[in-house]
Structures are given as structure tokens and as C-alpha cells.
């Protein structure tokens, strides 16, 4: 199915607010964060849409919101759809989709690790890549780099500083 017709097919099946966004990075579907699980359930279970695979789940900090992307793929119909929702940076909370797509488990942990988004209902929301005692979430725009970690001095050397653009 074409990207736009996926949106139209979905629109005819639900009353939830949906928005079709086409920007420089390609077409995608914008939904409200509280509708996330409902929309993804519909996309997965509907026979005409049949999105049976979550290929990627990621996020990006775009002040004042954090965008959460869900890239879906259908092995049945061989079509793809990007769904995204926006949560405020101050209270980044969204429902987990692990119950729907098992593969979301580690992907959501990664998003939690790097952006600090809380996925309610996730079975084990702990850091996946950074050490457990790490402070902060590095992909936030306001993240301050650590100068010292576990007694290791990691301040940039004078030579390193001389190469950095002022």
C-alpha cells in the first residue's frame, strides 16, 4: 500500500486524532502520546494494514518536546510506516508497547538510557548501554559532559582544547 493510502485506510477505521506530516525527512504519521498503544494495536491487528514488525523505536530531543519514533513494517504486505508522538521534556512519560511488540523491550530501554523517557508498563526499564551509575541522559540538548568518572580524570587535554572551534 502507498504511504498516503495507509493513512487514509487508518483514518476510516478510527476516531482518534491523526495527522499526516510530510517534511524533508519523509512522510510520517503524528499521533497523540496517549493514543500510542491504541493506534499501534490497530495497525498491527487490522488485516489490510498488518504491521506485524516494529523495526525501530527511537527518539530525538527537539525543544521543548522529545519526539518518539516507531518504525513499523509489514511482512505480509511489504509496506512501511513511521509513527511518531511528542512528549514534553519536563515530563517525558509514555506507555510502553512491549506487550504489543516484544522487540520494543531493548529499544525502549535504549531510548530511556539516552533520552530519559519513562515507558510505563515496561518490564525492566534500566540502562542498556551506559553503566548503571551514569548520571544524566546524553542525547538531551542540555546534557553536561562528565569531567570525572569513577576517579578517572576525563578533562580534555590542552591540545584537544586547541583544536576545538571557539
Amino acid at each position: 500500500m502507498e504511504q498516503k493510502s495507509i493513512f487514509e485506510a487508518l483514518q476510516s477505521k478510527t476516531q482518534l486524532p491523526l495527522e499526516w506530516v510530510e517534511d524533508a525527512y519523509g512522510p510520517k504519521l503524528k499521533i497523540a502520546p496517549q493514543d500510542l498503544v491504541a493506534v499501534l494495536t490497530l495497525l498491527k491487528n487490522d488485516s489490510a494494514l498488518g504491521f506485524d514488525c516494529l523495526t525501530n523505536q527511537t527518539g530525538s530531543h527537539m525543544d521543548p518536546v522529545i519526539r518518539l519514533y516507531y518504525v513499523l513494517y509489514s511482512y505480509l504486505h511489504h509496506h512501511e510506516l513511521v509513527v511518531f508522538c511528542e512528549v514534553p521534556v519536563g515530563a517525558p512519560v509514555v506507555n510502553s508497547v512491549v506487550g504489543l511488540f516484544g522487540g520494543a523491550n531493548w529499544l525502549e530501554r535504549e531510548t530511556f538510557d539516552l533520552l530519559g523517557v519513562k515507558f510505563t508498563g515496561h518490564p525492566d526499564l534500566t540502562r542498556i548501554m551506559l553503566p548503571e551509575d551514569w548520571v544524566g541522559h546524553p542525547l538531551r540538548k542540555d546534557y553536561v559532559y562528565v569531567q570525572e568518572y569513577n576517579g578517572i580524570d576525563n578533562r580534555p587535554s590542552e591540545i584537544t582544547k586547541s583544536f576545538q572551534p571557539s
Binding site: 551506559l130 553503566p131 546524553p138 546534557y143 559532559y145 562528565v146 568518572y149 569513577n150 578517572i152 580524570d153 576525563n154 578533562r155 580534555p156 587535554s157 591540545i159 584537544t160 576545538q164
Partner: protein, 160 residues
Amino acid sequence: MNNLLHKFEDDGIVLTTVDHLLNLTRANSLFFMLFGLACCGIEMMQSGGPRADLDRFGVVPRASPRQSDLMIVAGTVTLKMASRVKVLYDQMPEPKYVISMGSCSNTGGLFQGGYSVLHGVDRVIPVDVYLPGCPPRPEALTAAIIAIQKKIKAEKYLRK
């Protein structure tokens, strides 16, 4: 002395110091610990292959720090890995040597602007040879090994 020399004449003799003999054996049986952390690790594997052939210097990889006397830190050291590097270095028996292979291991290299990258492995362990390159060719690693061998041969091992 002359009588002594004549006594072993038929066998052939070599006069040397114990230091020199020990250093000769140490320098030509460098067992290095595998520490491939990034793309430099691929070049390190190449160096062990038939073309560069580190084996001809008696340099063979070991999978355990307790059997190694040389550590080749090949690749980007992250802050998470840094403490592990230190633990493994501490487990190696003395005397031990370290080659910091590639720009990343020397200074953080290309990734030094990253939030998780250590600015050079010399922040956690002492380094004997810094090997520049991104990544260094197997010939360069061979040169670094020879530099370590020269260092070992110059040491007064027994009178340390």
C-alpha cells in the same frame, strides 16, 4: 681461563651476561593480550596473519591477562571500558608492557568529542609505546613491537 676455554672447545661456547640472555628470551617471546576494541582490532588481527606475521618475533596472542606480558590496546576506550582495562592490566604479571595502538587509544581520536569516550588510555594505565595512525598498518604495529623489544633488551632485569 684458557684452560677452561679449552675444556669446552669442542662444544662451542658463547660468553654473555645473564641479563642479556634473560632479555633475549623475554624480548622474543612476547605474549600479548587481545584487546581489540574497535577497527584497530582488525589491523591487529591482520598483523597476526601470514603477511605481517607477528609470530616470527615470537609474538602470539593470549586470551588471558595472566599469561600475557604485553597489552595492545587497539581501539576506542570508553569510560565504561576504562575500569575494565585497569582491572585486566592489574591482573597481568610483572614485567608488563603496553602499546597504545591508534589515535583513539592515544587521545580519544576522532571520537574524543563523544560523551562516553576516554581521552587516551594513559589516563588509566601507563603506556610504553604510542602508535599513531587511524588505524595503523600492520607494518606500523610491527615497528611498535620492535620498539618494545629494544626497550626490553636495554633493561637491567636482574638489578631492577
